[in-house]
């Protein structure tokens, strides 16, 4: 019970932190922000890993865990890379002429 209560506190404080972190975002960044936050939600891959490591020799669990890991990793890897791809495009005109592309 104590562990659960502690987890509820963690949930509450994490949620409040999330509300505070995104106060003023320029519209330019809404799409990358959504995509980046989405990549972070792929952190369920940790739960998938835990499932696999606790599976022992239960094949069904290994398959389920591996599938869960694959889907979550697709979310994480794809999400972070595509966000990075979007963000590399935001360059200022000054930097561009100076940088000599």
């Amino acid at each position: 019970m104590d562990g659960f209560q502690e987890q509820l506190w963690v949930l509450l404080l994490g949620g409040l932190l999330g509300l505070e972190l995104i106060g003023k975002v320029p519209p330019t960044l809404h799409t990358p922000l959504m995509s980046g936050a989405n990549a972070i939600s792929g952190i369920t891959m940790l739960a998938a890993l835990t499932l696999i490591t606790r599976a022992g020799d239960n094949t069904l669990l290994l398959i389920l865990g591996s599938l869960a890991l694959g889907f979550a990793l697709f979310n994480v890897v794809g999400g972070f890379l595509v966000t990075d791809r979007m963000l590399t495009m935001f360059r200022s005109g000054r930097k561009r002429s100076g940088g000599g592309r």
Binding site: A37, F74, L81
Partner: protein, 470 residues
Amino acid sequence: MSSAELFQGGLDLLAVALLALGIKGLSKIRSARAANQLAAAAVAMAVVGLLVSAQPTAVTWVWIAGGTAVGGVLGMLTARLVPMTAMPETVALFNGCGGLSSLLVALGVLLAAAGDGLTPSLLVLVSIGFSIVVGAVTCTGSVVAMGKLQGWLPTPGWMLGRWRHGCNVALATVVLLAAVLTVGGSGDALWPLVISASLLGIGLTLPIGGADMPVVISLLNSYSGVAAAAAGFVVGQRLLIVAGAMVGAAGLILTQVMCAGMNRSLPAVLFGGALSSASTGSKGSGEYTNITSCSAEECALTLEAAERVVVVPGYGLAVAQAQHTLREVARLLEKHGVTITYAIHPVAGRMPGHMNVLLAEADVPYEQLKEMDVINPEFPAVDVVLVLGANDVVNPQAKTDPESPLYGMPVLDVQEARTVFVVKRGMSAGYSGIKNDLFEHPNTSMVFGDAKQVLGNILGELKILGVGQR
């Protein structure tokens, strides 16, 4: 506590801090890219910590490697190959997979306990039920959202009628019943729970109009955070709970911002159905009269003589892949001494910020992009406005006609400018299906044709005129 567990605990704490800094950094242009990498590093660190602490056996390593290889490679390829115009769909797809992962984890934990003849504690069972429902709704909802944005899935007619809410209420009741039974320890209710929750995700998303889909994706993004937090409760990992809660809360804020930009309330988006021309007041509908049209050549001549030009890009521009041609036109005019800025409506493109990404892809410096509030007071001093593939966001009805469904939506006041060119394929209505008074405005000339073709013609004409070629 073993030293490996201490190591994991330390890494987890560091990861939470980095994730929070990452989300914060993503909200500023200068720090955004580094922040994204920081968040990625945080996830990688958490994985290392978990693997060090859990010490997988050789067999489990094989399964881990399998899942990693397939998911990682597919993710990498998708991220690299997907066109920028399809960004909203891509986010939806990633999101759906995250939800599916949470669903699978919850299923696995439940099946593992059943296999061992154990009953998990009530709290864990509640978490599992929650994780299954949210995960399933996120997954099927995201896939439907993706299908709608791609144009694969039209809304079936019966979904718009009264069947829609009845159907969803019935599904939600089944979900609730099955969830209670599952939490109560009945294994038989598990599959009905998974299936009914999946159907509910479809039922909730399918009737929503394509124009509102970005809001739905943002909301589903928030759900997938909640699903991750629920999975964290299931396996007892605090890091997942914090990260999931942060993403869930941040997603809600972003959803609100998007709704505000479209002048839609969240309940109206979720339950109201698509805006339709049928609901338009008598004043707003009807045929167009007094349309002036001109050729690309005339348009080029006017542009050449202008001092200040504002471009209003819309999704039609991106679909026609015309942003690069636009950039060429802008380059010539700039060399000629014309000042060019781009007016970006908060929901230009298919989601807020989407247009900025598309223009950035065409090498438009972001200093030239002006937000609506900045550019609106400047329109009276603008010589030429070039509207490319945008419609509803430049409809003056939103300010002048209280009867219009668009009334109250923030719009760009382009009709204040001296001359307005609207490049458009034909006289069809915009996304909302509402007539645009701008097209009949005395200062407005329509240039009919595909955006890329028209811009190509303008470019050719400018070259013939010797604009920007000293």
